[in-house]
Amino acid sequence: MTSPASKRLFKEYRGLSSDPPEGITAGPVTEDNMFLWEALIQGPEGTPFEGGVFPAKLEFPKDYPLAPPTMQFLCEMWHPNVYPNGTVCISILHPPGDDPHHYEQASERWSPIQSVEKILISVMSMLAEPNDESPANVDAARMWREKRGEYEDRVRENVRKGLGL
């Protein structure tokens, strides 16, 4: 029995493995369950995240792609748009109807035509350019705004830790 969701996820998986975007690897943890994925994202060049590889998990709802997945980093992330527990907070992961802050344009939010690939690319660019309008981690946002040097040092430290150095 294959639901439209798992079929589409499998398609996305195929697409991602035969034509992966640079710096991104993603796929289901096991092929028995298409609704839980693991992804690896490389830190974008020219940012303090450069050189790092950041693991994350993606959980998909049963009615995907009508509703967006959730994404959570499995490593320590010091970033204005990542909650201390690793959950990523960016507009593309927010369902269209739900915008308590009214910070986001409807067009930026989740729609069934988005995809895992687009999410991961957005997250990559989020690493390079944090959005401090609606920070998930207020401390990190403040540090990013006011003490950029300290912020970058902390990020680099995390990168080194993540690589086991």
Binding site: M1, T2, S3, P4, A5, S6, K7, R8, F10, K11, E12, R14, G15, S18, D19, E31, K62, D63, P65, L66, A67, Y83, P84, N85, G86, T87, C89, P95, P96, G97, P100, A106, S107, S111, P112, I113, A136, V138, D139, R142
Partner: protein
Amino acid sequence: MASFDLPDSTDWLDTSLSSFEPLEAALRCQVCKEFYDTPMITLCSHTFCSLCIRRCITTDGKCPTCKKEGQTDKLMPNWVVGEIVERFVKARPAALELARRDKEEKKGTSGRKRKLDDTDLEDDEISVRSTRSRKTRTAAPAGGADMSDPIAVVNSEEEGDYVPEGMVKCPICQKAMKEEQVYMHLDSCPGQKGPGGRNTRSRTNNAFSNTFQHQSTKLSPSPTPTRLPQLNYSLLKDNALRQKLHSLGIPTWGPKQLLIRRHTEWLNLWNSNCDATHPKTKGQLLKELDVWERTQGGHAGFTEAKVMKKDFDGNKWATNNKDHFDELIANARKKRTAPTEGEEKSEEKKEGVKDAPKVIPVQYSREQPANPPTETLLIPHTERAQEPQTDTKPSVDVARPYEGNNEALAIIRKKVDEANNNSNSSSSAGPQLEGEAPSLRPSEGISNPFSSPSRKVPMFQVPEDPVIEVETKSR
């Protein structure tokens, strides 16, 4: 996972026709990533499968591409796209095979001669075998138009063996078709797999290639069904809705929320089937609804209902989640105690007398931090903003904020005892800080707009998962 071996536009990337990748991608629905199935165009001129766009619109009422408002009854069929897709799908296997082989030949420079010979041989072989199939197909598929004869032959041969995605072969005439269509087709299958049978069939197939023109004359076991109207669910009582579902012949069990979702899905399945060139039977649609039921509906453990069950056991909930409550209480308290000690005390005395079910509104405050609208009802904004300043690791040691502060602990214990004596709550509240949970509610001290003595349980159930996840992760 053989059933998942699906063709994809990226198949073209490794061939000499890599520019076909975007072409094929353009022929696929953006929602399901399959080739368009019964493409429909919206008022904003975007095209999707009939079922996909119906599902999207019934979910959030908008076009997935441009987010403009859309209505399912304003959808129009996009015949041209439908035909292009149909032609492309037929031409695809041969073209892909050819492009792959071409790439391989270009790769291997040393064994090139031999390879070419092989190919020739193969072609000869095939052309002998497939004269017949060429006869039966009066027109070569679109993709074969610019190909030389032997290639066109390979084309039709390939088609015989290759079964495109989601398709199966008719056991009698070997024609590839959608799985769901087989049963319907069998009723009208024109004949055995012999040249005769194939001939007749292919003539009907190809005489006028536009299958859409045959919609009225096609062999169909049932007359074209009529579209079902949408219902205004809010005006329907449970029983009336159940009655409706019953008259439609679909399952009627489950709470109203599930009935609504089931009816919506049935409407989507049914109405998109009305758009289709080859409508399925009701039995097939019911099977699809059953798949939905098991993957997303009532059999999927998919709790979407936001309204709390009537038999919700508030006390049990409070006991089971005591840790979380305690943590939140401690958290809120920590920020409150200093300025409002006296006031809090009197309020809490009052609260202590009240009954246990009143504790439940606190669940609102247990939503994850990402969800301020409910939380702000209970905890003033300023406090939330301050939290990160005062504490670099906010979630670390909040469970025992009074550790070491004996004076405060003493006060609290006294209050807890007091409350325990007064309240008939069955909670296991002891004299320790952790035991204070259900009887002492800081959130009651802060004005709680939802609390009213007459209502024992809140209207809405807080989703369970996010709460637990956030809490446990932050430890």
